[in-house]
C-alpha cells in the first residue's frame, strides 16, 4: 500500500525548482539512478500507450463465437458430419448454411449477431427434458442442419458415453472440433471472443486521466489548506488541522464505497473529485509542517515585512521552495487515486461506461475467467498493465525523492 505518509516535515529542501526546470541536471541525475530511469522510461511508454496507441489500434467490439477463450467446457464446439469435417472448419465456412444451436442458453444469444448479419441461418432446438443435444445431433445426422454450434463439452460426452446402439450408429459419422479457430491474438480473447490487446491499449486512458485529475485536485487542496493553516495560524490553523484529522480518521476506502452507491459516478471527473476529497489530509499535514519551517526563513520574513500579500508569499516565496516535495507527493497521490479507483470498479461500485482495465478485472472475476487456466489473459493483462504503471510512478517518485533530498542521497556512514 503506498499510503504511508511521507514525513519530510521540518527538513530543508534546498535546490528545487531550478533543478526541475533545467533538464540537463535532471537527466544527469536520472542516469545515475537506475531505478529512477526505469520508472521514467516506463512513464514515457505509458504516455505513448494512452495518447498515441489508441489512435492506431481500433477498439475491438466484435463478438466472435469461434475466438472465445472462456473457461474450458464453455468454448465453441463445432459438430459436423464426417464428410464435411474438412469443409467446415471455421465459422466463415458456414456462410449461407443452416446451423443448429440450443435455445435458451447463453450460446443462443451469442449466435444472434451472426444471424442478424446474415452469416448463416440458425435452427434452434429447445433445451428441454435433456433432449436438446440428442435432438440436435439427430437433425445433423439427418441433414436438416449442416453443423451444430455448442458451448459445452457435453456433446463430446454424449457421443462417447451414449448407450443407445441405434443412435450410436446414426451418430457414428459426426465429428467434433474445438480448436481455436482463426488467427491468433497477441493477448488472446475474452469471454466474447474480442481481442484483449485492443482493450488493453484503450483501457488505460480514462483510468490514468482520472487518477491524474484526482491526484492533482488532492494535491491542490492539500497545498492550499496546508499553507493557509501554517501561515494564518490561530483559529484557522486549529480548525483546518482538526478537520484534516477528522477526515483522516474515517477509513477512506469504505467511505468511498458508501459514497459510490450514494452518488452515481458516471462522470470520471466526479469520481476524481470524490477520491481527492478524501485523500488530501495526509499531504495537507505534511505541507503545513513544511510551510511552518519555511516561514521562519529570512526571505519569507522579509516578504511579510514588506507586506507583499499572502498570495504573493505563497505562490512566489514558499511554493517554489517546496516544489519538489509537492511534485513527489503528487505522484504518490496519483498512485493512491489509482488504488481507490480500480478498487471501486473491481467491486462493481462504478457504472460501466468505458471498457477500462478495472472493468476488465471486474468482468474477469464476475464471469469466472479468473479461475480458469485458459482465460488467464483477460485478468492477467490488466493486472500487469496497472501494476507496471504503479511501479513506474513509484520508482520515478522515489528517485526524485533521492535526488532532491541530500540526506537520503549522500549520507555517508561516519567513521567506517
Amino acid at each position: 500500500m503506498a499510503s504511508i505518509p511521507y514525513d519530510l516535515g521540518g527538513r530543508s529542501v534546498r535546490f528545487t525548482s531550478n533543478a526541475l526546470s533545467s533538464g540537463g541536471v535532471f537527466f544527469r541525475a536520472l542516469r545515475r539512478n537506475r531505478a529512477g530511469l526505469i520508472g521514467f522510461i516506463g512513464l514515457m511508454i505509458y504516455a505513448v500507450w494512452i495518447l498515441i496507441a489508441p489512435r492506431l489500434i481500433p477498439f475491438d467490439d466484435n463478438v466472435r463465437l469461434d475466438q472465445i477463450a472462456s473457461p474450458p467446457g464453455s468454448r465453441l464446439m463445432l459438430v459436423t458430419r464426417a464428410d464435411d469435417a474438412a469443409r467446415y472448419t471455421t465459422l466463415d465456412d458456414l456462410q449461407g448454411r443452416t446451423v443448429g444451436v440450443l435455445g435458451n442458453t447463453s450460446g443462443e444469444a451469442m449466435v444472434e449477431p451472426y444471424e442478424e448479419q446474415g452469416a448463416f441461418t440458425v435452427e434452434t432446438e429447445r433445451f428441454s427434458n435433456g433432449r436438446g443435444i440428442p435432438d440436435l445431433l439427430e437433425m445433423l445426422a439427418e441433414g436438416e442442419v449442416d453443423a451444430i454450434i455448442l458451448f459445452s463439452d457435453s456433446v463430446k460426452e454424449y457421443l462417447t458415453s451414449n448407450t443407445d446402439a441405434g443412435q450410436n450408429e446414426q451418430f457414428a459419422n459426426l465429428t467434433v472440433a474445438n480448436a481455436a479457430l482463426g488467427p491468433p491474438y497477441l493477448l488472446g480473447t475474452d469471454t466474447q471472443g474480442r481481442d484483449i490487446f485492443s482493450h488493453i491499449i484503450h483501457g488505460g486512458t480514462t483510468l490514468i486521466a482520472t487518477a491524474l485529475a484526482a491526484g492533482l485536485m488532492s494535491t491542490l487542496i492539500a497545498v492550499m489548506l496546508g499553507s493557509l493553516a501554517a501561515l494564518l495560524g490561530g483559529v484557522v490553523d486549529n480548525a483546518l488541522t482538526a478537520f484534516a484529522n477528522l477526515v483522516l480518521t474515517i477509513p477512506s476506502f469504505p467511505l468511498l464505497v458508501v459514497l459510490a452507491s450514494l452518488i452515481r459516478l458516471d462522470n470520471p471527473l466526479l469520481l476524481a473529485l470524490l477520491i481527492a476529497a478524501l485523500s488530501w489530509p495526509v499531504l495537507m499535514r505534511a505541507v503545513r509542517s513544511q510551510v511552518l519551517s519555511l516561514r521562519e526563513r529570512d526571505y519569507v520574513e522579509a516578504a511579510f515585512a514588506l507586506d507583499l500579500g499572502l498570495r504573493h508569499i505563497v505562490l512566489r516565496e514558499i511554493l517554489p521552495n517546496m516544489m519538489s516535495f509537492v511534485a513527489i507527493n503528487f505522484i504518490f497521490a496519483v498512485t493512491k487515486a489509482m488504488y481507490d479507483q480500480v478498487g471501486l470498479i473491481f467491486l462493481g461500485m462504478v457504472p460501466i461506461n468505458d471498457y477500462t482495465w478495472g472493468v476488465m478485472l471486474y468482468f474477469g472475476r464476475s464471469r469466472g475467467t479468473l479461475f480458469s487456466p485458459d482465460s488467464a489473459s483477460m485478468v492477467l493483462s490488466p493486472v500487469l498493465a496497472i501494476a507496471m504503471f504503479q511501479v513506474s510512478l513509484v520508482l520515478f517518485a522515489r528517485s526524485l525523492e533521492e535526488m532532491f533530498d541530500p540526506r537520503l542521497r549522500t549520507a555517508k556512514s561516519p567513521g567506517t
Binding site: M1, A2, S3, I4, P5, D7, A35, G233, G234, V235, D237, N238, T241, A242, N245, L246, L248, T249, I250, P251, S252, F253, P254, L255, V257, V258, L259, S261, L262, S289, T335, Y339, V342, G343, F346, L347, L361, R365, L370, F371, S372, P373, A376, V379, L380, V383, I386, A387, Q390, V391, L393, V394, L395, R398, R407, L408, A411, S413, P414, G415
Partner: protein, 363 residues
C-alpha cells in the same frame, strides 16, 4: 495526532465566568485529558457524519425488498410494502432527526441496535462474529510485515548504497507500488490457477466448514490455511513501506552525534545497534503503525471480497449492498473507534518510549 500545536486556542472572552473558563483551560491543557476529549469528539463527529450520509443513500432497505417482492413474487406494491415493513424493523417515514436522537440514545446505552435486513439479529452479534477474523488476519499480517520490514530496513540502512540496499529498495518500491488486491489477483492467477499450488475454491471462507470449531489441531490448521492468502497479501502490500521508512529513519539516526560518540567510546556494534540506533530509528514506526491499522481495515474490504474471507470488510460490503443502515453504521463505528484508539495508543506509547516527548508534554 496532537503532538504539536503549542498554541492552545483561547476560549471566547467571557468575563462573567472566570472560574469556569479557568477550569476549562486547566482541563484542556492537561495532555491526556485533551487527547481523550479529542478522541471522543472525533468519534461523535464520525458517527453523526456517517449516520446522515448513510441514510441519504438512495434506496432504503424496505424499497430494495419491495422491489424484490414485486419483481420476483408478483405482489402488488401495497402488499409488498406492508410485508416488507412488518419484516424489517425500519420505518422510512420517521424523520431523520428522530431516528438520529433514537440512535444516539441507544448508543449511549451501549446498544448498536438490530440488523435491519436479517431480522432478530443484533448488530453487535454480527460484528462480534466477523470482527475477530479481520483482527486475526490483519493483525497477523501487520505483525509479520512490521517485524520483517523493520529488520530489513535496518539492514538496508547499514548497507546503504551497496548492491543489497539497491536491490531491497527496488523490491520495496515494487511491493508497495502495486495495489494489494492486484497482488491478490496475481497470486490467484499465477500460483493458484496456472501452477496449481493451491485450490482457490477450497480456500474460501474462514475454515473448512466440515470441521467443528474448537481448539483441535485440525481446526487451527484449517484456520491458518484459510487465512494464509489474505495474510500474505497484507504482508506483501505493506512490507515495502516499512522497509523504506525504517531505512530512511535509520540512515538519519546513524548520522546523529550520539551514535558517533557511542562509537568513539568503543561500544560494541550490537549494543550501538540495539540501544542507540534501533530504538531511536524505530520510534516513528510506531506512529505509522497506528495510522496503518485504519488503512488496512479499510483495505480489507476488497481483500476479503476477493478471497471470500468472512471478516468485517466483507460484512461491511454486504451491508452496503443491502442498505442495512444499522449494520453499516455499526461497522463504521467499530472501524472509527479502532482508528481513534490506535492513534491514542500510539501517542501514549510514543511518550513512554521517547522521554523527550514525555518531558515536553508534561510542561
Amino acid at each position: 495526532m496532537a503532538t504539536e500545536s503549542p498554541a492552545v486556542p483561547s476560549g471566547p472572552a467571557a468575563p462573567s465566568f472566570p472560574i469556569a473558563r479557568h477550569a476549562f483551560r486547566r482541563f484542556y491543557t492537561n495532555y491526556t485529558a485533551r487527547t481523550v476529549l479529542q478522541a471522543i469528539v472525533t468519534i461523535w463527529a464520525v458517527i453523526t457524519f456517517t449516520f446522515f450520509l448513510i441514510r441519504l443513500m438512495p434506496g432504503n432497505p424496505v424499497e430494495v425488498y419491495v422491489d424484490f417482492l414485486v419483481n420476483q413474487q408478483n405482489m402488488t406494491y401495497d402488499e409488498a410494502y406492508s410485508r416488507a415493513a412488518s419484516q424489517f424493523r425500519f420505518d422510512p417515514n420517521v424523520s431523520l432527526v428522530t431516528q438520529y436522537v433514537e440512535y444516539m440514545g441507544q448508543l449511549l446505552r451501549g446498544d448498536l441496535g438490530l440488523s435491519i435486513t436479517s431480522s432478530g439479529t443484533r448488530v453487535i452479534d454480527q460484528i462480534a462474529r466477523f470482527l475477530p477474523w479481520t483482527i486475526f488476519s490483519v493483525g497477523l499480517g501487520l505483525l509479520i510485515s512490521f517485524t520483517l520490514g523493520v529488520i530489513l530496513g535496518t539492514i538496508m540502512a547499514y548497507k546503504r548504497n551497496t548492491a543489497i540496499d539497491h536491490a531491497l529498495s527496488f523490491l520495496a518500491s515494487v511491493l508497495s507500488a502495486v495495489p494489494n488486491y492486484i497482488w491478490g489477483l496475481f497470486i490467484i492467477l499465477v500460483l493458484g490457477v496456472q501452477l496449481n499450488l493451491f485450490s482457490v475454491g477450497g480456500l474460501r471462507g474462514n475454515y473448512d466448514p466440515s470441521l467443528q470449531p474448537g481448539f483441535t489441531l485440525e481446526f487451527i490448521g484449517s484456520v491458518l490455511k484459510h487465512a494464509f492468502l489474505p495474510v500474505l497479501i497484507y504482508v506483501i502490500g505493506s512490507i515495502g513501506g516499512w522497509m523504506l521508512n525504517m531505512r530512511n529513519s535509520t540512515v538519519s539516526t546513524l548520522g546523529e552525534d550520539y551514535v558517533n560518540v557511542a562509537r568513539a567510546r568503543g561500544l560494541t556494534s550490537s549494543r550501538i545497534l540495539l540501544a542507540y540506533v534501533g530504538r531511536n530509528a524505530a520510534l516513528p514506526m510506531f506512529t505509522l503503525l497506528a495510522i496503518n491499522i485504519g488503512f488496512i481495515i479499510g483495505g480489507s474490504v476488497i481483500i476479503e471480497e476477493l478471497f471470500v474471507y468472512k471478516g468485517i470488510g466483507s460484512f461491511l460490503f454486504w451491508s452496503i449492498t443491502q442498505r442495512d443502515y444499522t449494520s453499516m453504521q455499526g461497522v463504521f463505528l467499530i472501524i472509527t473507534i479502532s482508528v481513534v484508539v490506535s492513534n491514542l495508543l500510539a501517542d501514549l506509547l510514543y511518550s513512554r518510549l521517547d522521554p523527550r516527548v514525555r518531558v515536553s508534554g508534561g510542561k
